[in-house]
């Protein structure tokens, strides 16, 4: 084996080992690397107790209700398996909508209601013009009416 082959082998081995070590570390800190917890994790009690964390999910259709003070908003987040009710006082981002993704930061109350101090809208990876979105919505409604 030539000296330069040995050097390349050494470089390859070093980078591979480093990547492996990084992978193990990231795997060990898996729970700390997630940006938000799911409503299922909340239901299973797998969320930090007594300190703030984030819940992410889809805003349940028809769940958004504004209180009379004009600031407090109640809504529910779901991962299609479990639902967590959320109460939030403050301005919502423009893209916050029912059936769209959202992330709420706050504490889980003893009554099971999540008291949020910050709400972020989560955008998906789909980019399309409004006409295309309309067509999809229409097709969706047609499909639903056929099912009925």
């Amino acid at each position: 084996m030539k000296a330069r082959h040995k050097r390349f082998l050494l470089i390859g081995a070093a980078v591979t080992l480093l990547a492996g070590a990084t992978g193990l570390v990231l795997n060990a800190f898996r729970d700390n690397l997630v940006f938000f917890h799911t409503p299922s994790e909340v239901a299973a009690g797998e969320v930090p107790k007594g300190r703030t964390f984030r819940i992410g999910g889809m805003v349940v259709h028809g769940s958004v209700a504004r209180a009379d003070d004009g600031q407090t908003v109640r809504f529910a987040l779901t991962d299609t398996a479990r639902v967590v009710p959320v109460v939030y006082k403050g301005a919502l981002p423009d893209l916050f909508k029912e059936t769209k993704g959202a992330v709420a930061q706050g504490r889980l109350g003893d009554d099971g209601v999540f008291v949020a101090t910050e709400v972020l809208a989560k955008h998906d990876e789909n980019y399309m013009p409004p006409e295309a979105q309309d067509a999809i919505d229409r097709a969706h409604r047609t499909a639903l009416s056929v099912q009925d």
Partner: protein, 249 residues
């Protein structure tokens, strides 16, 4: 043709000189076409309205910042393995451009994040690993400039480039490995979830970033070659020629 001929700085220097204007022209053409289509032709987005148009800058810059780092790691491995000086020159020529694109990606992302998410910055896995990439670029540049002996600076920089390369797949796959606020990839091998006009504008901008990076890094590599090879006869002659008002070509 023997490509290894161009691993010598003396033969690479004039080749790079001929390629720079070509890549610069291609970059300008792609940028004009991509930005025009992106900002004037492409439709607005159904959910985000007009603000989505920043992706034409954001995605091109983010891809480029990750790719340049991988190319730096590649040249570092070649340089360490074969001991070719030119490989280290290329690594150092690429670093400032990579850092610039990394900064643009973070900056445009923040400007996009405020109206869509409701926050300029969040510490999710994608954003944090991209910020780490910026610090790796800064670290590489600072380290190679801080060491006086150029040979040792080359080696130290190469090690940072190789070690830091582990971060690039973490950035790319962060949105699938962990749940993040940043959305998943719209463009994947085998398909995209974007309207085609938007996609074409974005791809043209990405091409522009490629050609720009090639042009700028080759031009920078020529400067580094002259500086580092100044003790050789040809480089000294070239420096004298340029210093005497020779055309900078």
């Amino acid at each position: 043709m023997n490509f290894f001929r161009f691993s010598s700085p003396q033969t690479f220097y004039p080749l790079a000189g001929r390629l720079v204007p070509l890549f610069a022209a291609l970059a300008a053409a792609c940028a004009v076409a991509g930005l025009y289509i992106g900002f004037f032709v492409a439709p607005s987005d159904a959910v985000q309205g007009e603000v989505y148009r920043i992706i034409h800058l954001h995605v091109a810059a983010a891809w480029m910042s990750m790719f340049i780092y991988l190319v730096m790691a590649f040249w570092s491995a070649v340089g360490l393995g074969l001991g070719t000086r030119l490989s280290f020159y290329m690594t150092q020529a690429l670093a400032p451009t990579g850092a610039m694109f990394c900064f643009i990606a973070l900056w445009t992302g923040a400007l996009w994040g405020r109206p869509t998410w409701g926050a300029y910055w969040v510490w999710d896995a994608r954003l944090t690993s991209q910020l780490l990439l910026l610090f790796l670029y800064f670290g590489f540049i600072a380290l190679t400039r801080a060491i006086d002996d150029p040979r040792r600076a080359d080696k130290a920089g190469a090690i940072i480039a190789l070690v830091g390369a582990v971060n690039v797949p973490i950035i790319y796959f962060s949105v699938t490995w962990w749940n993040t606020l940043h959305q998943g990839a719209s463009v994947k091998p085998g398909g995209s979830s974007m309207a085609s006009v938007m996609l074409w504008a974005m791809l043209l901008c990405a091409l522009a970033a490629w050609f720009y990076s090639l042009a700028v890094s080759l031009a920078r590599a020529r400067r580094i070659i002259l500086e580092r090879e100044r003790h050789t006869e040809w480089a000294a002659a070239e420096i004298a020629r340029r210093g005497a008002g020779g055309r900078a070509d």
